[in-house]
């Protein structure tokens, strides 16, 4: 397959030039490269050649990658209604320009004096998300919403000294898996039931399950199943009656039009940054944020880096650094708060660029458009015989459960038919929520045109 010249230096490895290699060996007083590995016992030396294909020169590699990736059908090739934790949104070109800048792309963990720009953009990201959620502290982000929720729960547990957290039964099963593993063994997760008609939290059940052992009540707005939780104040009040911490997970694309959870009492707000100018990347675009009030008890429980601003020795300069670095596992190993390492800073930078571009009006328009288009989709789908898109009675944001039970077809069958017509139908809920029977979670965002929605409706009608 390869046709590259094997005997010349590899373009990625300058010191494979024999003369240079030999000069260096001589300089350090070694006879051979093998000698450098003499500390490794012979029995551990791998003596075969690894079964990995021969090197491809750049052009051959690019042909190979192109051919391989062309086996994928992307959401750009079809109309997709997939959401459920990773969503198709408008990504301004400026976002991609910034995050592909060689400087940002290849920087890592340098200090303020080499990477001032990186510190500033991350501080700005923190500050921009802070406005969106209306809170004063935001972290350098973690892996994804799930991790942010899990860490929020652990923070609450440390603050309260309690070992149980309540979560809604309508939570994304995938997200739940992550939280569960992250909280085990020491924190117990307990489901709070939902109202069958609306999907909303069953407040009676919540009341039943609240106790002095409960560190936190966690819920999401909008929920995984798309409906908006409207009893937010009530949930928070119930939690506070038991001195539990209220944690709310949010989709930030709703925050131009919806009150931020801080306004209905949330102590910790977490969520997903991916809607903010980040491509889905088959899930690789996820990034999670956590926000709190500016109180020591919260700040000192963050495991994440928190960049703060400070004067330098020259007037007028903004310098930056780590606030309470001693919190972190970097400083304290197992005595630090959870752990921190490489997370998803590039998505933080990107989300910052996005929010700076959108401004308050953009975010408001975004939320409005999503509301309008998703309502239109529900309205049109509801007209189809056997299909109910308004399965949950209430208000949705961006996503909604479409009930196919009346069609006599499984979601799997429906989706296969749709795929033939160039449409990716919604996420099959029949395994995740068997109680819903044959139902699917559909996602409509600002990227869907009326024509796209109409095409879906037509395709479903003709099934």
């Amino acid at each position: 397959m390869t046709n590259s010249k094997v005997d010349s230096a590899h373009p990625y490895i300058p010191n494979t030039v024999p003369e240079v290699r030999d000069a260096m060996l001589k300089q350090i007083g070694a006879e051979s490269v093998e000698e450098l590995f003499s500390a490794i016992p012979d029995e551990l030396i791998y003596k075969k050649e690894m079964a990995i294909p021969e090197a491809l020169a750049e052009f051959d590699l690019s042909k190979h990658l192109e051919r391989t990736l062309n086996k994928n059908t992307s959401t750009k090739d079809v109309i997709s209604f997939l959401g459920g934790g990773c969503w198709e949104h408008f990504v301004p070109a400026v976002c991609d320009e910034v995050n592909s800048r060689a400087e940002f792309l290849t920087a890592y963990a340098g200090d303020e004096y080499e990477d001032h720009g990186r510190f500033q953009v991350l501080f700005e990201y923190q500050s921009l998300v802070a406005e969106l959620v209306d809170m004063d502290v935001v972290n350098v982000p973690t892996f994804d919403w799930a991790q942010a929720a899990a860490t929020s729960i652990r923070m609450a547990s440390r603050i309260t000294g309690r070992k149980e957290a309540l979560v809604p039964k309508t939570i994304s099963p995938d997200r739940l898996k992550i939280i569960k593993n992250y909280c085990s063994p020491d924190i117990q997760l307990t489901f709070v039931d939902y109202d069958e008609a609306t999907g909303k939290m069953d407040l009676a059940d919540l009341q039943r399950k609240l106790s002095a052992d409960v560190a936190a009540v966690y819920f999401e707005n909008p929920s995984y199943l798309g409906f908006i939780e409207t009893a937010c104040k009530e949930i928070n009040e119930l939690a506070k009656q038991h001195a539990a911490i209220t944690i709310v997970g949010v989709d930030p694309s709703s925050l131009g039009i919806m009150e931020p959870p801080s306004r209905y009492g949330a102590d910790i707000v977490c969520g997903e940054l991916q809607p903010l100018g980040i491509h889905m990347n088959y899930g690789g675009g996820l990034s999670g944020f956590i926000a709190t009030r500016d109180e020591v008890k919260f700040v000192e429980e963050f495991p994440s880096r928190l960049f703060g601003v400070a004067p330098t020795s020259v007037e007028g300069e903004y310098g930056f650094g780590d606030v309470l670095y001693e919190r972190t596992s970097m400083a304290q190993r197992e005595k630090g708060k959870e752990s921190v390492g490489t997370q998803t800073s590039m998505w933080a930078i990107t989300a910052g660029v996005y929010l700076a571009l959108m401004g308050p009006n953009g975010m408001k328009e975004l939320g409005t458009t999503i509301m309008q288009k998703s309502q239109y989709a529900v309205q049109q789908l509801d007209k189809i015989e056997g299909i109910t898109a308004s399965h949950f009675k209430g208000i949705n944001f961006k996503e909604f459960v479409v009930d196919f039970n009346g069609t006599g077809k499984t979601v799997k069958e429906v989706n296969e038919k749709l795929r033939e017509k160039g449409i990716f139908g919604g996420i099959d809920l029949s395994e995740e929520f068997p109680e819903l029977g044959q139902a699917a979670l559909y996602c409509v965002t600002e990227v869907h045109s009326k024509a796209d929605i109409d095409q879906l409706v037509e395709a479903l009608q003709s099934l």
Binding site: A23, F37, A55, T106, N181, T230, T368, Q379
Partner: protein
């Protein structure tokens, strides 16, 4: 004509300095950076404004105080700040030891940015992502060759998350054996990455930390003393960031196995080992690689990254799901793992990095991978050899060759001059270099950790060495010069660190800064 004489050994450098305001200061009411799509008129006519259906209490009252800025100005701001960031593509990036800052080939970026990757939804039907699954599966096969492990998951989003996943597997394994309560200790070493201890602690483990013997090896006698029926696992890197390879590693894993523990290998950085030696033969049950280190995916200011988590057949049922399997010519996702720990990162990890790592391996082949290791180790030993010649510099522990990196010490220089490793760090910025001290605790006093990888030429290494030499000389002749650095950076020294410690001063956001400074301004 007289030629232009260039005989300075250190670079006449100045970083871009733009003195940009904080982005909120660019606000001009009414400006717009971008206009998102709006609903068509037909839709508005059908459904109305869309938002008044929200209960009053949930309708946002006060607009978020985001700045309003034209597109050109937003872009200009970020472009300027990018120039103030010393990315690996710009410097002889050997100063961030342990981080394996190697060349990230540009061809890989082209495909990572393809809509055939970026515009995939993680819940698409398997049939529509066969290309991506093929890449994942093939990378799994290559990783098996590199490690000797039997199966890989690429779900972890970083090294730390890989370590956490492994600690989770250790727990699930002992749970499956009914020993979870009894086995509550994980053993690690003081030179290991802090995340080893930290992630094990998150999983509820007590941490036992082994200190090095006088040669810098983890002490085998201490390990023997540490293991017991309470031992759940043992996690270690080899070499650690000292670059010292522990030749007794097989004995170590045997001791732990004999005590009933699981051995897991931190191979975040395996850059000196590719094709040289493997996790399997050293007796490990699990290992992970950071794709953003050894396998060249760019560090992206700190992620998204990716960890490749490999296990032996015995531990495969414990992996987070789904994993990719090949069935004839078809690739499928299997989420049916008997003892799965569940998930650690949503969906499939960071697929764009899986693709990049795959591309990198394909550009090198088995031979090239081995050349990577050999050259990284050669470069490191050359650097080591030359740095030991610098007045005031040293490298504690055993003499002789090291593998891919070294934790050095300026202890002598500090004793002689009062100049610290942090002072030198700031001064290195003046010559366009990254420079890192080391992980805490500073077991090695006044430490600095360098890792040259395979990506740098002898000339590059010589420049870095010359800069360190220059600064060491300065420390001996004009220590204040070093202490007051930097001079040629985008920024000057933050002398008063209290805004990072004092709750009345710290400001993690611009709004907090405005509140806290309002009184005095």
């Amino acid at each position: 004509m007289k030629g232009i004489i260039r005989n300075q050994k250190v670079r006449n450098f100045h970083q871009a300095k733009w003195d940009e305001p904080i982005i909120f200061e660019l606000h001009q009411e009414g400006e717009r950076g971008v206009i998102p799509p709006h609903a068509e008129q037909d839709i508005t006519e059908s459904v109305g404004d869309g938002v008044s259906v929200l209960p009053e209490a949930l309708q946002r009252k006060a607009d978020p105080k985001l700045p309003e800025i034209s597109q050109n100005r937003v872009l200009r701001h970020y472009l300027r700040l990018s120039q103030e960031t010393l990315g690996a593509a710009f410097n002889v990036e050997i100063g961030q030891g342990t981080c394996t800052m190697k060349y990230s080939p540009k061809i890989n970026e082209v495909y990572a940015a393809s809509p055939k990757v970026t515009a995939l939804h993680p819940k698409q039907d398997d049939a529509t992502v066969q290309g991506m699954l093929e890449v994942i599966h093939n990378l799994d096969l290559y990783m098996r060759e590199i490690s000797g492990m039997d199966y890989f998951s690429f779900q972890p989003g970083s090294g730390t998350q890989s370590l956490f996943a492994m600690a989770s597997i250790v727990r699930a394994y002992h749970e499956a054996n009914g020993e979870a309560d009894q086995r509550d200790e994980i053993i690690t070493t003081i030179f290991s990455h802090p995340s080893q201890a930290a992630t094990a602690a998150v999983k509820g483990y007590k941490i036992i930390t082994l200190y090095p013997d006088e040669d810098g090896f983890p002490d085998i006698d201490k390990l023997k003393a540490a293991v017991s029926e309470r031992t759940a696992g043992f996690v270690v890197a080899n070499p650690e960031d000292t670059g010292i390879y522990n030749a007794k590693i097989k004995e170590f894993t045997k001791i732990v196995h004999d005590a009933g523990g699981i051995c897991y290998y931190d191979q975040a950085n395996a850059n000196g080992l590719l094709g040289i030696t493997r996790a399997k033969e050293a007796g490990f049950d699990m290992c992970f690689f950071n794709l953003h280190k050894t396998f060249s995916t760019p560090h992206a200011c700190g992620g998204p990254a990716a960890g490749a988590l490999g296990v032996t057949d015995q531990l495969k049922p414990f992996l987070p799901g789904p994993i990719v399997e090949k069935d004839g010519d078809t690739y499928t996702l299997n989420d049916d793992l008997e003892h799965s720990i569940g998930k650690v990162r949503s969906y499939h990890g960071v697929p764009q990095n899986i693709l990049r790592a795959y591309a990198w391996i394909r550009a090198l082949g088995a031979k090239g991978l081995k050349q990577v290791a050999e050259t990284a180790v050669l470069n490191n030993n050359y650097l080591y050899h030359e740095i030991l010649k610098i007045k005031g510099a040293g490298a504690p522990y055993i003499k002789g060759k090291r593998l891919e990196q070294v934790r050095y010490s300026w202890e002598k220089l500090y004793q002689d001059t009062g100049v610290t490793t942090e002072d030198i760090s700031r001064r290195m910025a003046d010559f366009g270099h990254q420079y890192w001290t080391s992980h805490h605790p500073f077991v090695v006093p006044q430490p600095f950790t360098l890792e040259p990888t395979e990506s740098y030429s002898k000339t590059d290494l010589d420049e870095y060495i010359a800069s360190l030499t220059h600064i060491a000389n300065e420390a001996y002749t004009d220590p204040e010069k070093v202490k007051s650095a930097p001079y040629n950076s985008s920024i000057h020294a933050v002398v008063d660190q209290s805004p990072f410690e004092d709750p009345n001063k710290w400001a993690v956001t611009w709004r907090a800064y405005l509140k806290k400074t309002k009184a005095s301004n």
